[in-house]
Structures are given as C-alpha cells and as structure tokens.
C-alpha cells in the first residue's frame, strides 16, 4: 500500500467513525464499531506511515500489544454499556 493510499484509507476510516457517532447510533455495537475503526487506523499508521511493516517480527509484537489494549478498551466500553 502506497503512502497516498494509506492516507485515503485513514480518511475513509475517520469519516466512517465520525458518521457512526453522528448517526445517533448508540450502545455497545456502535462503540465496538468505532473502536474497531480506530484499531484499523492505528495499524495503518504503524505499518505504512511508520513503516513498521519493514520489520515483520516487531510489527507482529506491536500488533499483539495494540490488540490487547483495544480488547481492554472494548471490554470497558461493553461493561459501561
């Protein structure tokens, strides 16, 4: 994925998360959708902007830690309703 394509993906994901919030959709599913989109954006920035995809071993480790963080945030979002 080129840098420009990564930027386009980031813009699309940002618009999608803002659209979900503006649509008035509430509750757990909307929260999980917004957090999943944020997770996707973070992965694009790490792998394309920060070029972490050049170091696959490190990239997998960072993806695991980011996944654990997002799982924690999602768990707390579900617990909060």
């Amino acid at each position: 994925m080129s840098i420009t394509r990564a930027w386009a993906v980031l813009m699309a994901l940002s618009l999608a998360s803002t659209a979900i919030a503006w649509s008035g959709a509430g509750g757990v599913w909307a929260a999980l959708a917004i957090l999943t989109l944020a997770w996707g954006k973070a992965q694009v920035i790490l792998n394309r902007y920060l070029r972490l995809s050049q170091a696959p071993d490190i990239s997998r480790g960072v993806a695991l830690v980011l996944g654990l963080f997002m799982a924690g945030v999602m768990g707390l979002a579900v617990a909060g309703g």
């Binding site: 840098i3 954006k41 902007y49 070029r51 972490l52 071993d57 490190i58 979002a77 617990a79």
Partner: protein
C-alpha cells in the same frame, strides 16, 4: 546499512526502520497515553450518565476535522521522508512546512475548543470527564507543539535520517490522536 545480495534480509530489531531511540520514545509515549485512556474508560464505569452528559459539551465536528488535518499532515511528513531520500531538498522542506502548517491548524482548532469550554465555565474540576479531557488532550497538544518544532528543526538541514526521525515523532502524535479521538469524543455519543 547497505547489504550485499547474498546477505539474508534483516530480522528482528535490525529490520526496524528509523532510529531505535525514537522507537523507545514512541513506545514510552504510547504506554503513557494508553494507561491514561484505560484509566478514563475505567473511571467512566463509575458514572456512565455523567460522562455521557459531559461528553455532549465537546465539539465533535472540530475534533473530527482535526483528525483529517493530522492524518493529512502525517501523509505530508511521510512524503517528506521519501523526498529527503531522493535528496530533493526544496521538496522536502515544502512538505515539512506543509505538515507543520497543518499542525498549527490543529492547535488553532484545539484552542477554539478550549476557549469555548472556558467561556462556558467548564474547568478541570467540573467533572472527572473534563479532568481526563484536559489532561489527555492537553498533553497531546504539547506533543503537537514539540512536533512542529522538530519538523522545523529537521527542515533546516533536511538529510534523510533526520527527516525520518522528525517524521516518526509526528506519526506518533498522529497515532495517539486516532486512538484518543474516538475514546474521548465519540464513545457513547449516540447514547
């Protein structure tokens, strides 16, 4: 470091792009912001209705616009790295200046947001939501200021390694915002 065709591809930490110390800084900053965001989510459990009410006072449009601004700024910074690797000094400087200018635009919108909160009498102590809001977004804004300074400094003599380090710091600022924005501004917005 250049490699001969017979050398195996770099693995592990040797394959890490950019400066190792910048990665240490990035991981440290992500841990600090990550802990802050998890604490925010934890405290939110104690008063979901209060947090939702407090969140309704935020400017989601401005914050959404700021997300677009930072993502685009990161794109310019990434392109500046490519320009620096091509030894195109003028283009590198122009791209770094564009990235920094968008950083200033981000700060201006953030300042308008803070000014509106101040005019409405919303402070650190109004509600725990706003304690986290000011701490996390304020700490992030300080990093945006630092990033603008760093982009300006590397633009003076834009060699590829220094431009890459400056851009890495800027991408870290971008990365923190894409995680902070939905958690602080969007979660529970439709509730």
């Amino acid at each position: 470091m250049s490699r001969t065709p017979t050398e195996p591809p770099a693995r592990g930490i040797e394959a890490l792009p950019g400066d190792l110390m910048m990665w240490v800084l990035i991981v440290s900053e992500l841990l600090v912001f990550g802990a802050g965001l998890l604490a925010f989510m934890g405290v939110r459990l104690t008063d979901p209705a209060g947090f939702a009410e407090a969140q309704s006072h935020l400017d989601r449009t401005g914050a959404g616009l700021n997300t677009m601004i930072l993502v685009t700024s990161g794109w310019l910074a990434a392109r500046a790295v490519a320009a620096a690797e091509s030894a195109d000094t003028a283009r590198t400087r122009a791209l770094l200046a564009g990235a920094a200018a968008l950083g200033v635009a981000f700060l201006w919108i953030k300042w308008l947001d803070y000014a509106a909160k101040g005019a409405a009498g919303i402070t650190f102590e109004t509600h725990p939501f706003f304690t986290f809001y000011y701490l996390l977004t304020g700490f992030h804004a300080v990093h945006v200021v630092a990033g603008i300074v760093i982009l300006g400094l590397v633009a003076i003599r834009p060699r590829a390694p220094t431009v890459e380090v400056g851009a890495m710091f800027w991408h870290m600022v971008d990365l923190v915002w894409v995680l902070l924005f939905p958690i602080i501004y969007l979660l529970g917005a439709g509730a």
